[in-house]
Symmetry: C2
Subunit: 149 residues, 2 copies
């Protein structure tokens, strides 16, 4: 299993671009899509709570916000030029307007980290407001950089 | 985007089995496979370092170990009975021998958490030994509960 992982992912998370380039573009796309899937898994219930559609549960929010704080930093090294031609919902602007894309990515990281912090307070109103801010940062990026679903 | 997430993931992470059951089995499988994909992304380079195949990098290990500590807890609520008939590499034993499966899952969580702790120490030999222990806990579970790849 050690070896199987090495074959596909050995250099995926090194910080140098050269190392990232060694990972197959299809794998990079699969990995970044996996992050989006899990962000949905953990953000979805919090969005439901903020909108009053499901009961507020402080413990679930604290756990999910902690996971989301981590996940919000995992996708971005997969949006590299080598992946441009792999079929996905990413719009060309990801690669042509990378400064704006990076800004949108940082916004999610910052808002998710704030949610993690505020989730520790147990202040329901503040938590719900910050869940809204995270949702806006998701939507803001999708608006410009993801094909309409 | 709020609404799109709600449609697919609203109850995925609530702790009650009843809530989990509301999420489509195919989504649960997609989510747990996403966790495995990302565990590979972040464990792969650490395995390479432990085996001397790529240079040891303390900063990468600390980051990856932190991510893996989180990821190691994300997959298990997706291995529920409703997913039994969805095509995946999970063997029937996941559902028929759930006590042993849970034990194997806990082993990964514990070893990944230990790796996170030891990664803070900067002790290269201890870190490499613990990377090996994490690898064994991955392999141990795959041996009994995943179809041969």
């Amino acid at each position: 299993m050690y070896k199987a992982l090495l074959a596909t992912a050995v250099a995926a998370t090194l910080t140098s671009g050269a190392a990232i380039a060694q990972v197959k573009p299809e794998i990079l796309v699969k990995q970044r899509q996996a992050v989006m899937t899990l962000q949905g898994k953990y953000f979805g219930p919090m969005a439901g709570m903020a909108q009053g559609k499901i009961p507020f549960n402080k413990d679930v929010v604290q756990r999910n916000a902690g996971y989301l704080d981590n996940l919000s930093r995992m996708a971005w090294d997969g949006f590299v030029d080598s992946t441009k031609d792999v079929k996905s919902a990413a719009l060309p602007a990801v690669y042509t307007d990378s400064a704006k894309f990076k800004e949108a990515a940082s916004r999610l990281e910052n808002e998710a980290n704030k949610l993690y912090q505020v989730s520790r307070s147990g202040d329901e109103a503040a938590i719900k407001a910050q869940i809204g801010a995270v949702g806006k940062s998701c939507g803001g990026c999708h608006e410009s950089f993801r094909a309409k679903q």
